[in-house]
Structures are given as C-alpha cells and as structure tokens.
C-alpha cells in the first residue's frame, strides 16, 4: 500500500545522506506545512526566501524559527517577484533553496520559474493550492493550479511537479523534490493543497543516515575545460558556483554551451529541446505512483493530493458493490506519464478523475488515453473536498 | 621623445570621437580610412605630444584604444 517513494531513484555511484543538524528525528504530530519545512531542512536546504500568503505561510514561519538554530538564512522579501529570484541567487552561491506560496503568489512567480528552467537552476517552489482564480478562497482548498504548474511561464520548458497527500508525504516528498531538482537541474513544483497543508497527522522523521540526499551536481573540470551548459549526453550540465573561480556567465537569453547569449534558431532548437528531453527522456525514472488493484480493473480512478484520500472511500464503496475498480494515485503529476496511461487505457473501460478544479489533469488523462478508454471528470470548483458519494456515482456510471 | 604611445584596435572602433575630443594634447584625429564596418577609426597625428595618460583608453566605450607611458612599456598607465 505504501508507495515506493524511492522508485524515481538516484543513479549515482555515491550515496549521500542528510546532515543530522537539519533532521528532527522522531515521531511527530505535525501539519503538512510544518512537515514540508522539516523536509526542506532534512534535504539540506539552508536558504529560503518567502512572502506571506495563506495557506502556505506556516512553512516559512517554521523555517524562520528553525534555520537560525541550524545554520542558514531565511529572508522575507518584499514580494513574490523578489522571493522567487532571491532563492535563485542563493542557489548560484551554493545553497539549496526554496520558496513557498499559493495561487496569487504562484502567478507572480511565473517569470522566475521560467528563468530557473532556462538557466537550469535547481530549486523548489511550494504551492499550497487554494481556491481561485484571483484572491479566491484564501483559507480553503483547491487543486486548480495544476496546469499552471506545467504551463505557467512563457516558452517551451519542462518542470517536475509532485503532489503529496498527507503530512508524512509533505516531509518525504519535499526531500524528493530537492533531490529531483538537483538531479535534473530543474525547478520542482511541490503542489500541496490547503487541506494537506493544514491537516495534522503523525509524521515519522527517520534518523539522518536513513535519508538519502542528492548533492549539487558540481563540476570537477578545470577552468579551461568547463562549459557551463555543456553536457556529456546525459543532458544535464554540471554546475559551478559564484566564487569557485570559473568566471562563468548565466543568462536567461537563449545561450550556447559557454552560457553566452546566442540568439539564433539552431542554438534555440538545440537548447530548448535539451531542456525538454532531459525531463521527458527520464519520465520512467521520475514518475512515482501509488497503484492498487489495477490488474483486471474495469474502471481506474486517477487522483492526487487530498482528493486521493476522499477517492479512496469511493473506491472501497464501489468495490463493495462488486465493481472492479483500480486506483492510480499520481504522486508525480508532471511530467505526465503518457505511456503508462496509454497502455492502461487499452486494458480498462474507463478512467475516473476527481479533482478540486473544473477539469485539469483529466485533460491529460484523456489525451494520453487516446480514445482507448472513456474518461470521466468529477469536478469540484474548490472550497472543500468532494463528497465520496459524488465520486462513487461517477465510478458506477463509468463502469456501465 | 614622446612620453607615451597609443595602440588602436581598429576593428572595434565605432568612431564615436571621444578619444579625439578628450585627449588633453590633441594627439588623435579621425582618419579617412575605414574599418570593415565602415567606421573611421582614429589615428595618431601628433605622436610626440602623447603623455601616456590613457584618457583615450578610459573614455573609449569600445575598448578600442589604450595608451601607456613609454618608460613602463606594456601595461597601461601606472
């Protein structure tokens, strides 16, 4: 039942474990926001730049309290535009850094998410989703930023997005988010929602030596040989930090392997495709799911975040009625597991996709299914969670 | 014997005229020759008046000229 969160694993020779100074080993009763903060510290993050926004603020409030006793920096910036780029300056100085926000702030951060993607700055953006659009429902849940997480900034780029469904996962998956960010040199969107962020549950924090941490992919090349955006075929360049002595250049302009602006179609093509391929070629390694009774299922319920817990009730009720219902919980929402859904679509009658939005990830499911299976959305405009009855109704309908 | 000397990187010059104007001893003038971009680079017309102060170098926005004192040879103004 417990998903194998190590599935999208490290393919490195060395194994690094967490710095004990940042790990609050023990059994805690903690909410998702707080657990996310602890995950960041366990992952080795010692820098956060934030701006208050409900329901995410507690993450950085806790970080502000914890980090001076662990050895790091928190700064509350004057707005999200600043926070989202301040953390990147810290990354290029050598830190693991993140920020935390919700809908309106996430919108403000979009330019800098694109900058992180373009400059391949490893970092984590936590979005504790709330009702929208605009100011919306500051204290109530939604899952309506899912498409924005993928497409919110301009241009062609890829990101990774993770969806925890419990405070425990807020801890575990935040570490995963940082690890994926370092491995692929990409901004990772940590898509929580207000319920998961504010629900309090048992969170087990293991000893530091049981927590695997991916270090910065720092170059060991000589100054003469180092190319800031050169790759050896694995599509992810090695990084250097300001102050190392490489005297390198980083720009958001389309650039060549030296990092120099080179605004021509061939360089654009090469760069942008590599940014895309470094993620899409690794979908199998990056994707994480929780699957249950998929084999022989007529209907598969695909869900994520808090909705997956409500859906569980509906799935169990459906099974009691004799229906063959499988569960597929998306832990990695982006990159979307096209191949997996396409293969599954050939074997099942229908997918049911409940979401706290008017239809976002369901579009991806439908697209990937390519007409081989029917796709049913169970939409909810947000502000609360689904009534399991509503999901059950659609499961029954889908199974007909 | 001039106290200084000037070197000009002709291909970088965009003929802005700063060096000609601000040389305190009027060593330079824009030539009638062209570089490959079509600009008239400066040339030294009064080499004997060059003090090697390198104001030309400091003014040049294109990093196309520099002067140094003859005694210290290479390396710009001390």
């Amino acid at each position: 039942m417990t998903p194998d969160l190590q599935k999208a694993d490290l393919h490195k020779d060395e194994r690094h474990t967490a710095d004990p100074g940042g790990v609050l080993t023990g059994i805690h009763f903690m909410d998702g926001d707080h657990a996310c903060c602890e995950g960041a510290l366990a992952a080795g993050s010692r820098f956060a730049a934030g701006y208050p926004i409900t329901p995410s603020t507690e993450v950085v409030e806790r970080f502000a309290a914890r980090v001076p006793t662990v050895g790091g920096t928190f700064i509350q910036m004057e707005d999200e535009l600043a926070a989202s780029i301040t953390l990147q300056g810290a990354v290029w100085a050598g830190a693991k850094a993140f920020t935390v926000t919700s809908g309106p702030g996430f919108s403000l951060m979009m330019e800098h998410i694109g900058y992180a993607a373009m400059t391949e700055t490893p970092c984590v953006f936590v979005d504790v989703q709330r009702g929208g659009p605009s100011t919306g429902l500051p204290t109530l849940p939604a899952q309506a930023d899912m498409m924005q997480a993928r497409w919110g900034s301009h241009g062609d780029y890829e990101i990774i997005a993770l969806c925890p469904n419990s405070p425990q996962e807020c801890f575990d998956l935040t570490i995963k988010a940082f690890n994926l960010a370092e491995e692929y040199r990409v901004p990772v969107m940590f898509m929580m929602d207000e319920v998961v962020g504010h629900m309090t549950e048992k969170v087990v924090i293991p000893p530091a030596d049981q927590i695997e941490v991916v270090p910065r992919k720092h170059t060991h090349k000589s100054v003469a040989d180092y190319l800031p955006y050169g790759t050896n075929g694995d599509l992810v360049p090695e990084m250097a930090h300001a102050g190392d002595g490489y005297k390198f250049h980083v720009t958001g302009l389309t650039h060549d392997e030296r990092g120099y602006p080179n605004m021509t179609p061939p360089v654009q093509d090469k760069l942008v495709r590599r940014l895309q391929n470094k993620i899409l070629n690794a979908v199998d390694r990056i994707s994480m799911f929780e699957e249950e009774q998929i084999e022989g299922a007529d209907v598969v319920v695909i869900s994520y975040g808090i909705t997956s817990r409500v859906a569980q009730r509906a799935i169990e009720a459906a099974r009691k009625k004799g229906l063959r219902v499988g569960k597929l919980r998306l832990i990695t929402a982006w990159p979307f597991p096209d191949k997996k859904i396409r293969e599954l679509a050939a074997k099942v009658k229908a997918f049911v996709v409940p979401e706290l939005n008017l239809g976002q990830m369901v579009r991806e499911v439908e697209r990937a299914a390519s007409g081989q299976a029917k796709t049913f959305a169970v939409s909810h405009a947000g502000g609360g969670v689904h009534n399991p009855e509503d999901i059950l109704k659609v499961i029954v309908e889908a199974g007909r | 014997m001039a106290k200084g000397r000037v070197s000009i990187v002709v291909e970088r010059c965009k003929a802005c005229g700063f060096c000609v104007e601000f040389c305190p001893t009027h060593v330079l003038a824009l030539s009638s020759a062209f570089n490959s971009k079509g600009y008239h680079p400066p040339h030294v017309v009064h080499p004997e008046k060059c003090s090697g102060c390198d104001l030309c170098g400091m003014y040049c926005p294109d990093f196309a000229i520099a002067a140094s004192k003859v005694a210290s040879g290479k390396g710009g103004e001390k």
Binding site: T73, I85 | S7, G76
Partner: protein, 303 residues
C-alpha cells in the same frame, strides 16, 4: 595629417599597448552590441580601473545585471556574472550575498531596470542596507526596447511613449536611495571617468548598500529624438553642465533636460549592514542556540 591611414599597419603593431580593461573582458565576444557613442562601455573602463585600484579579489566578485542595454555588461565581463530578469538583479544579488557573504556582489544595471520595474527592490535593499554595490547607468530612457520613457526621463523630453513630450516628474535617484537608507550615494557622468573609477573603488570597500548613478549618453534614442546631437555632444554637454558638489543635499540634485547636473559624492555614512543586524539579533535572542551559517565550501577548481 588626416590622410588615409594604412589600417593594416596599425593592426600589425609589434608591441601593442595592453589595455588594462582587456583582462576583465570576454574578448571572444567583442565587438559589443552597444551603439557608437553609447557610454556604457566607458563605465566599464572605470569599473575595470576600480577593480584594479581597490585590489578586489576577482574570484569572489560576482556581477549581477538586469535587462536593458546596461544589463548586457554582465555578458561582456570576465567574472562570475548573472544576467537575470527585468528589475530583479537586486533581489537575485541579495540571495547570492546572503547565501555566501564572502562574495562581493555588484549590481550593474540601468535606470529603467533599477527604478521602474525594479524600484520596489531598490528601496527595500537600501532600507535593509544589504551589502551590495549598485552601479546604475542612467541614460534617461529605455534604450534597448527603442526609446520609451523611464522614470528618470526629464520633463520635456520626447520619447516613443511620450511623443508629445514627457510631462511626468522624474525621479531624483540619489534622493530616493538616500531616503531609503543607502550608505553611499554618488553621481558622476561618463565624462568623469576618473572620479567614477574612484567612486566605484570606494563603494567596493564600503559595507552596506552603495549606489552610484552614472549619467550616460544614449545617442540613438535619447540624444537623437531630442535633437541633442550624438554621444560626443552628450559628453560635451556633461562637461559643460556638471557641477561637482560633494555632500550636496540629495533633495537638490534633481535633473532637468538642459539644466545643471550636480555630481559628486553625496552620502557616505555608516550603518550596520543587514548581515550585521541579523547576526546581532539572533545572538541577542538565541544566545548559545544561534548557529551561524557555515561558510560555503568552494569546490577547489582544478587547474
């Protein structure tokens, strides 16, 4: 005299003078994109001199720029340089400095980038007294995008977005940053190459938020649209109109289209910088529990 020069001969100089700025340039990217008579390159000469004279450790010098003509400086200097987003060089630089306080972080950007879209960050960084050295090249216009009005464009100027003349009051940047909390505020023009270099060198040694405004020509847009000649005409204008007034009250140094340009060092004061304040507060509140941020482990560079 002005007879035709054999330019080949000049290029084949046996023992050319080495320009001290060359050591700081990405020579493989020359010639640069700045227009004939643009003053940005001139400011870079002063910057290079300042680096040499102040003996700043180049390895720990990081340069951060924003978007615009001046923003392109980052791409031309041979330093750890970061060309970031429009208006956000200062917060990026803040993150860099706080994560590795050993770095000497210079922000090199234009008037539009720093005072319009970046205005909020400018005032907060000055307020906090973040240890940054900000060089603001002020060409009174948004040059890169074709000559639109900037908050610094003087009343009466013609721009592409004020084709009938600018009627908005313009910013007095030294006054703004002094009020916000900057500890070092100076203004020079690209005519004042040596004074500018000296000011930059002073700023590099100063702890806290330093701001140097450099008035610089934009011949293609500002000069041309306002029938003020070319870059050289602007330089002569600066020479004629500048008045050195060290310590002048910043409220009195506002610029007009054709009036006096007050230059000099206006503010040089001492205030604890952000990191000092942070360390002091944590020590006071946490005592022994305060764990200072460990220094960044610089990976040794293989030669």
């Amino acid at each position: 005299m002005t007879d035709s020069v054999n330019t080949d001969l000049v290029n084949l100089e046996v023992d050319p003078v080495v320009n001290p700025v060359e050591a700081f340039l990405r020579s493989d990217r020359m010639p640069h994109i700045w227009c004939p008579g643009c003053g940005i390159g001139t400011t870079v000469n002063s910057f290079a001199r300042a680096l040499i004279d102040s003996k700043v450790d180049l390895q720990t010098l990081a340069l951060v720029s924003g978007i615009g003509c001046t923003g392109r400086v980052a791409g031309y200097v041979k330093l750890d340089s970061f060309h970031t987003t429009h208006g956000r060089a200062i917060p990026f630089a803040t993150g860099m400095k706080l994560a590795n306080p050993k770095l000497n972080v210079v922000v090199y950007s234009g008037d539009g980038d720093l005072s319009a879209i970046g205005g909020n960050h400018l005032i907060h960084a000055a307020r906090r007294n973040i240890d940054l050295k900000v060089i603001c090249v002020n060409n009174l216009i948004y040059a890169m995008t074709g000559g639109q009005s900037a908050p610094t464009t003087p009343d009466g100027s013609t721009t592409s977005t004020n084709p009938y003349g600018v009627f908005e009051p313009s910013f007095n940047l030294p006054h703004l940053v002094e009020a916000a909390g900057a500890v070092y505020v100076a203004r020079w023009t690209t005519f004042h190459v040596r004074q500018l270099a000296r000011a930059m060198a002073e700023a590099f040694q100063k702890k806290g938020f330093s701001f140097i405004e450099v008035i610089s020509p934009c011949p293609t847009l500002y000069q041309r649209r306002n029938k003020m000649g070319d870059g050289l005409d602007a330089m002569k204008f600066y020479k004629e109109k500048s008045k050195v007034r060290h310590g002048a009250p910043t409220s009195e140094v506002g610029l007009t289209m054709t009036g006096e340009i007050v230059v000099g060092k206006f503010v040089d004061r001492d205030r604890p910088d952000y990191q000092n304040l942070m360390g002091a507060q944590y020590t006071h509140s946490l005592g022994d529990r305060y764990v200072e941020q460990p220094p960044v482990e610089q990976e040794p560079v293989c030669s």
